[in-house]
Subunit: 245 residues, 2 copies
DNA sequence: CGTAGTTTTGATGTCAGTCAAAATGTGTGG
DNA sequence: CCACACATTTTGACTGACATCAAAACTACG
């Protein structure tokens, strides 16, 4: 999951086309690169930012992965999403200047810091950067909508299949295998994300494994039948394999 | 819910501070007003736009209300949200230029059409407009996150209370009563939005009505005890009133 | 006033949550 | 390298909240 060197600039970052530089001319990327602060390394379980905190920077994932969540006044957490390389974190804070969720590293990770003030100034100068920022904001909305659909009216089986397909698709887009990857999050995180209990997640994994649709060993997932997995997310009568569901 | 005249411009629209003109100087609002197309009237159940369609305009609600939803390939709908005056619709489409959801009027409504191309050009000219656009995109993200929390791990009772408080808060911000309003959506829409069945919604309304927390007559809601309603959304042990829950 | 749509109410079933304990994995210090 | 403690995951038994099915009551509108 590591990329090249620590000193890599936006100009030769292999994630550039998934990130802010997309659609920019080389001269514009150079301007952007100037305001990107140190690629700060974050350790597993370390917080990148905390809900309520003032937001001075947005963050782009350079390597590793993150989990963001909202905690209620009693401390009950709801996982909002997972972030993979090339994705921008903190976009929820642009409304009022404070983070509305907390974000924590699931594994050792690298992030690029984007100072909000300077980023805004640069957007005013570079129309294509402004467009790309809006596209990324819009992308976050679209992915939140997908999660709303997921949480709304899906069975545990459908949720699990959708979750795996979502990761498959995102890893694929990053140039990794879309059928074999490691889960950087714990069962607890998956359960919380999907609105399920940890036991249900475990049982559904076991079921998919028994059916042969996936092979799962700890954090390691291999998808054996992508087509069948896709068929599972259609919420109509789809009985196949296994002794009852 | 009707505002002044049909010919009202952004300059004297009473929703200006909740909408795109917020933070702009008068001269800038005049520029914005120039690109705002006809305040098109929409009838109940009429579609403003359909999922998949190319997006040439964003829309601001001037009066009335809307429901947006995503339909799966089999036609199963998930309501994503409701839009009230001052809110911008279509922000999900900025990523790829196509609407990712459909939007339908819940009652007779007026919208301001914002041509995307011209809006982008204007954002490049007016930094404060660009900032405001980003704030509104971010606001949509925050409200989507709230819905994710809602759908994630809440009981039917908590979902209903949150739904009522959400409307109360939004109507209040618009200058209407926050304790007495009409629901523009049907029970079916509420149920779908909250990930519940229509029967459960009906039963929960009946329960709240019996407890005296609200008085509900058809579409008309009166909140009698806002504090008690707020207490209900805390997902800890909160037994009060009524024979069992 | 009659028909169609919406909402309410009642009876029953089921999926996933909860509780509990075993199994497995992870890390630390001797 | 092993032993022990602690965390995570799996498996099993039971329960309950909400869905589903069915029908009645209410509204609205021509």
């Amino acid at each position: 999951m590591e990329s090249s060197s620590h000193t890599t600039s936006c100009l030769d970052c292999r994630l550039a086309d998934l990130c802010l530089p997309y659609g920019l001319q080389i001269s514009e990327v150079m301007l952007l690169d100037k305001i990107v602060k140190a690629k700060r390394p974050i350790r597993t379980d370390e917080f990148l930012y905390v809900q309520g905190e003032q937001c001075r920077n947005l963050y782009a994932v350079k390597s590793g992965s993150f989990r963001s969540f909202i905690a209620s006044s009693e401390g009950v957490e709801q996982t909002i999403g997972f972030y993979l390389p090339g994705e921008i974190m903190g976009l929820d804070s642009l409304q009022h200047g404070n983070f509305t969720c907390s974000t924590v590293a699931l594994e050792t990770a690298l992030v690029c810091e984007l100072p909000v003030t300077r980023l805004n100034e640069l957007c005013a100068q570079i129309p294509s950067l402004q467009r790309q920022m809006m596209r990324m904001l819009s992308k976050e909305i679209v992915s939140d909508h997908e999660q709303i659909v997921l949480l709304g009216h899906r069975s545990a089986k459908e949720k699990m299949a959708t979750f795996l397909l979502m990761l498959s698709q995102r890893y694929g887009a990053l140039g990794f295998s879309d059928t074999e990857f490691n889960l950087s999050m714990r069962r607890q995180d998956i359960a919380n994300f999907l609105g399920l209990s940890i036991e249900t997640v475990s049982r559904q994994f076991a079921l998919l494994n028994k059916n042969g649709v996936i092979t799962i060993k700890q954090r390691g997932v291999q998808i054996n039948d992508l087509t069948l997995l896709r068929l599972m997310i259609e919420p109509c009568s789809n009985e196949r394999f296994s002794t009852a569901n």
